[in-house]
């Protein structure tokens, strides 16, 4: 199989991940529950991975990173924990349903929501952002890169508005954590939500959120915390404030292994490699009759994603044909980003999405281009 669906999940993982997970299975108990060696081993591991993430995202301290089971849980925690009846929130048409659906639910509870529009390439119309801000605007929830087009959000332009109008900046880093440089302090990010199993190359079931000191979030879940058992209220100290229940220590250990690998390999090199592969693909397929490429035409303003359609062909058929005939795994359909499809005019057709890993080869990319030419000539 030629795996080109890394925006869904990275299939190949560094060997460090597997080793760390197996080590955890054999040695780690429940972190923060007791003080014997097995629980302490787990607690040390979780703490270590918090520190690794804090270093990667330039957070003030490891305790500003709370673990969740995925980016969706992190985004739900942030969105439901920050915004309440009477607040106004700005988001964009580029968002995934993991941002849109929590906001739609809040709309029913009396939260006002506005959407920043994008042009025909899915590039945000930043100049329209200031006019969306109202008296009761509390924050902006925005993707760092679209999961459909790969377009990278210019967070500097968003920050100009959040800082001048004193708004919270919540960033969905599902497609960028481990791929693009993130400096939460320099970039003025209040909450950064991430998943562990895509660009961070860790196991599924891992993720989390960075929370800036001073930002208060009402937790999504309350329950077991390992401390203050007789208090009726869940402990307020971060990060346990947002981590009720036994966490996925085995997965978090694996994520730690992945972070070791990323540090050795260098995320900058990984991004360069992915862009190089996509450029090679784009050059070979852009002349296919009827092909429509989506996203910013400048590949340096996208992460390792290339979405397209061929004529009026159903994207699901194209994806299925690629897999059936050539064993090439890509994603088709709506990609959980309904407003982005409306903007691109692909609500009915969906789009074929290719998303590469730095482990893909030139040969795999060339075979994919040949297959697409073959399909266009049938």
């Amino acid at each position: 199989m030629i795996y080109l669906d890394n925006a869904a999940t990275s299939l190949q993982k560094p060997k460090e991940v597997e080793e760390a997970v197996i080590r955890a299975f054999h040695t780690m108990g429940n972190p923060g529950r007791g003080a014997h060696e097995a629980t302490l081993q787990a607690g040390r591991c979780v703490y270590q991975v918090r520190e690794q993430l804090a270093e990667l995202f330039h957070a003030e301290k490891g305790e500003r990173i709370a673990f969740t089971s995925n980016a969706t849980e992190a985004l739900n925690t942030a969105i439901f924990g920050l915004f309440h009846k009477g607040d106004h929130v700005i988001t964009t048409v580029c968002e995934h349903n993991s941002v849109l659906r929590p906001l739609y639910r809040l709309q029913e509870e009396g939260v006002e929501v506005s959407f920043l529009s994008a042009d025909e390439n899915g590039v945000l119309e930043y100049e329209k952002l200031p006019e969306l801000v109202r008296e009761n605007t509390k924050g902006i929830v925005i993707t760092h890169a679209s999961n459909l087009t790969g377009n990278i959000t210019d967070l500097e332009r968003i920050r100009e508005v959040t800082e001048s109008r004193d708004l919270l900046l919540v960033v969905d880093g599902s497609q960028t954590a481990g791929i693009l440089p993130v400096d939460v302090q320099k970039q003025g990010i209040d909450i950064f939500c991430f998943t562990g199993h895509k660009g961070l190359l860790g196991p599924q079931g891992t993720g989390g959120l960075y929370v800036r000191p001073g930002v208060e979030i009402c937790p999504l879940k309350v329950g077991g915390s390992g401390i203050h058992s007789f208090d009726r209220e869940h402990p307020k100290a971060m990060p346990e404030h947002l981590e009720a229940g036994t966490m996925n220590v085995h997965g978090i250990a694996g994520l730690g292994g992945a972070l070791d690998y990323l540090k050795k390999k260098g995320t900058k090199e990984i991004l360069q490699r992915e862009r190089q592969l996509l450029r090679r693909l784009e050059e070979q397929i852009r002349e296919i009759p009827g092909i429509r490429l989506y996203g910013d035409p400048d590949g340096n303003r996208r992460v390792g994603i290339l979405s397209f359609n061929i004529g009026e062909e159903d994207s699901a058929y194209v994806a299925d044909w690629l897999y059936e005939e050539h064993g090439i795994a890509v994603r088709a359909g709506a990609h959980c980003a309904p407003l982005m499809h409306q903007t691109l005019g692909t609500k009915e057709q969906g789009a074929v999405r290719i998303s590469v890993s730095h482990w893909n080869t030139e040969k795999e990319v060339d075979r994919t281009a040949e297959a697409l030419w073959e399909l266009s000539e049938i």
């Binding site: 003080a35 270590q48 490891g62 401390i227 203050h228 058992s229 007789f230 402990p235 990060p239």
Partner: protein, 78 residues
Amino acid sequence: MRMKKKTWILTFESTTQAMAAEKYAMEQNLPGRLIPIPREITAGCGLSWKAVPEARDEILTALEKAGCHWEGEYILEL
């Protein structure tokens, strides 16, 4: 019946604070170790640092220098 002796206990606001302190203490070879919080301090659960009372100043000075946080300190007969 076991002999009880004076023990110095340091408590934390969270498990993460306790893990941060332990990491630094181990790196610096500071005396003591993490134990479950004794019931004299709180009836809840959680971790605390146990050491001989004479080590108090050395430990707190080192933890403060490292930017570690804690909740409170106690002398107990354990």
